[in-house]
């Protein structure tokens, strides 16, 4: 054991070391490290981060990736415990009210006008709650009707027009889908996200049945009305009649279409790249609507939020606004993912590229997206309890798709929603 003598020389040495590191620390006080939590594949934001770091030499970005299914849990765990090591994180736009109510987001209302100018009123609505801006909009979404050219030809069906003015009704679409199935297609029709509320909200909105939540706080379930029952029965029948496949999870659905087994599919614009890669001739058309109803498409996607416990708010704002409000940064941020930038200028460039990507198959891409976002897009309900709502509804759709009776399933979901909402403070 070394002797415990603290000689004067030793004390001076220690003091000088401490002093030197203190000086060193002051010298490096400029460098700020921001952690950026998201659920995209590795290297998604590398280009945007590199550019930002070059332009801002005092700021270093540290991306932290977790799988999508775990992001909500991560955010809750870290922000719930006021973890100061989290600065910037990705937020699914429908969850903004929940997170804002729980105090997970810093108030960004000072940038309201800049956001409106860069991304438009729809994006602003999606990132605002209770009159305050909580996140910067990163990307947006819509839905297309994909059709398999060969399968339609085999059934002697006229391909649907890409012109929104000539949009098909659901009734007509299912009729054609059945004909295609009789003529040899394995499945006549499919939703690409068959167990997600995102996909079905437009159906209810189209006939005016409402999104399923009502009341001043949007915390009262409204899913047992006759209109809701009718639409849900319609949905159940698509699977019960064998027109659409059961048991295929969302992640494997695009592959089913790309391998030529489905005649018509309603799906997100990001599926186009998958189908192009598989060299399957296909076409795009606008999402159908119910006759006597109005055309509605779902929308909203990711946004970026800043933790109120972050110690580097200014740097965080700089970074997030670069990725969202700056056209060039926004373009870089979308360069590796098949997502439409919320930034209007970046979106234009992106859509042009997408339209060209698949030749005549994807020619209608840009026009369809622009039209739907401007005229038919409806956001998900703004509610503190949206996260729970979505979870319960998703499970319900899964059950109904597997054959559960509609009225009891709706009643059960209604009871579950009321119980879960009662737990919200």
């Amino acid at each position: 054991m070394p002797p415990r003598t603290k000689s004067l020389r030793r004390r001076v040495l220690l003091a000088s070391i401490v002093g030197a590191t203190a000086v060193g620390r002051v010298g490096h006080a400029e460098t700020v490290t921001l952690t950026f939590l998201n659920s995209q594949p590795d290297h998604t934001f590398d280009a945007a981060i590199a550019e930002f770091q070059t332009a801002n030499p005092g700021i270093v970005i540290q991306p932290q990736q977790v799988p999508y299914a775990q992001l909500n849990a991560q955010i809750q765990a870290r922000l719930g415990s006021k973890d100061p090591s989290l600065d910037v994180f990705a937020v699914d736009e429908p969850r903004v009210p929940t997170y804002a109510a729980r105090g997970y987001l810093a108030d960004l209302s000072a940038y309201r006008d800049a956001t409106l100018a860069a991304a438009g009123p729809g994006a602003l609505r999606a990132t605002t709650w209770n009159g305050k801006l909580w996140t910067f909009p990163l990307w947006t979404t819509t839905q297309f009707l994909y059709y398999n050219v060969e399968l339609l030809k085999k059934a002697g069906l006229q391909p649907p027009s890409a012109d929104p003015a000539k949009r098909m009704t659901w009734e007509r679409l299912l009729d054609q889908a059945r004909k295609a199935q009789t003529a040899g297609a394995k499945w006549g029709f499919a939703f690409d996200q068959p167990d997600r509320y995102y996909e079905f909200q437009p159906l209810y909105e189209s006939v005016g049945a409402g999104p399923g939540l009502t009341g001043p706080d949007m915390l009262t379930p409204a899913i047992t009305s006759p209109a809701w029952v009718k639409v849900t029965e319609w949905f159940r029948d698509i699977y019960a009649s064998g027109l659409a496949p059961r048991g295929i999870p969302y992640e494997q659905m695009a592959d089913l279409f790309a391998s030529g087994q489905i005649a018509y599919m309603v799906g997100g614009p990001w599926q186009a790249a998958v189908i192009v890669r598989a060299h399957l001739p296909f076409g795009l058309a606008p999402e159908p609507y119910f006759a006597n109803g109005k055309p509605v498409t779902p929308t909203d996607s990711w946004a970026l939020g800043i933790s109120p416990y972050s110690q580097h708010r200014d740097a965080a704002v700089k970074f997030t606004s670069f990725l969202t409000l700056d056209a060039h940064g926004s373009q870089l941020a979308a360069s590796k993912v098949p997502q439409i930038p919320a930034n209007l200028a970046a979106a234009q460039a992106y859509l042009k590229v997408q339209s060209a990507s698949g030749g005549e198959w994807t020619a209608a891409f840009a026009d369809l997206v622009t039209y739907e976002l401007a005229h038919t897009a409806v956001s998900r309900p703004r509610s503190k309890g949206y996260v729970q709502f979505e979870e319960i509804m998703n499970k319900m759709y899964s059950d109904i798709r597997n054959g559960a009776e509609v009225a009891p399933a709706l009643k059960r979901a209604d009871a579950q929603l009321r119980a879960v909402f009662a737990r919200i403070e």
Binding site: T35, L37, S39, Q40, P41, D42, Q62, P63, Q64, Q65, V66, P67, Y68, A69, Q70, A73, Q74, A77, G80, S81, D83, S85, E251, Q252, A254, D255, L256, A258, S259, G268, W270, V274, R277, A278, V337, P338, Q339
Partner: protein, 277 residues
């Protein structure tokens, strides 16, 4: 069991069972060699192409081997090895204390330990996370390592095993003047090769399979472990199945090699354990 050569039928049965258990993993492994569009192509009807890639491509394997997955695999191997190196002595010592030593409160402490490992780890991961955050252990190997060390099941197993060591051996050693540590290291441990391997397996599986905890404590890509990296291939909008399945098969390789190597210790029969006969 008898010395006679076992009948051919049993051998064939063993092979058949082993191969069918292995089939899904084999399918996952060759999925990495397929182009992404073909991963689910040959599921039904079952053909030779279900179990062999029709068109071989090395692109996915290349991406796996040169991407961040390899780092995650190394992280897993490092953390798991450390878990075994530190956790095995820790659990063995506890098992020894509960068996060979007599002290008041022994059964109470043992009961407390048993109850301790009944607590589902995933349920306490949130409060544990808060504790670790306060201690500054986020994104560190120590943070990944610690919760797996005190494994009540392994302690329980060691105790079970140590109970079979006859008292005479211990008494003899004490008369010979060995201290408790000596008794532990020179008498109990050498007799417990199988227990060590079994407990090693418990700790190994716990740490290799760990998913929720590594995700919470180490979200930084540098500290990702294999199970997290594999789940990363499942994006929100599309899943890279070829890489995910290939990654899973790759992640099964190190355990497979280690287990094959350890089989030798299982086959040695126990000829003499002192007072067994």
């Amino acid at each position: 069991m008898s010395e006679r050569r076992p009948p051919l039928a049993l051998f064939l049965l063993a092979v058949a069972l082993a191969l069918s258990a292995m089939l899904p993993i084999w399918w996952a492994a060759i999925s990495a060699l397929r182009p992404s569009e073909e991963v689910f192509r040959y599921l039904s009807p079952i053909s030779v192409w279900s179990l062999w890639p029709r068109h071989v491509t090395l692109a996915n394997v290349h991406a796996l081997l040169t991407g961040s997955f390899m780092r995650a695999l190394c992280n897993s191997m490092l953390v798991t090895s450390l878990t075994l190196l530190i956790g095995l002595p820790l659990c063995a010592s506890a098992g020894f204390a509960f068996t060979a030593l007599r002290f008041p409160g022994r059964s109470v402490l043992f009961a407390i330990m048993v109850v301790g490992f009944l607590v589902p780890f995933d349920s306490v991961s949130l409060p544990l996370l808060q504790m670790f955050q306060v201690a500054g252990l986020q994104n560190s190997y120590v943070g990944l390592l610690l919760p797996a060390l005190g494994n009540g099941l392994a302690m329980f197993l060691f105790r079970q095993f140590f109970l079979t060591v006859p008292d005479e051996l211990r008494e003899a050693a004490m008369i010979d003047g060995l201290g408790w540590f000596g008794i532990f290291v020179r008498i109990y441990l050498p007799l417990s090769k199988r227990a060590i391997i079994a407990a090693g397996m418990i700790l190994f599986v716990f740490q290799w399979q760990a998913y929720l905890w590594p995700l919470l404590i180490a979200p930084s890509p540098d500290y990702h472990v294999a199970s997290v990296a594999i789940a990363q291939f499942a994006g929100q909008l599309d899943v890279d199945y070829a890489q995910m399945l290939g990654g899973a098969a790759l992640a099964a390789l190190p355990p497979m090699i280690v287990l094959l190597f350890l089989q030798r210790y299982f086959t040695s029969s126990i000829a003499a354990t002192g007072g067994k006969e």
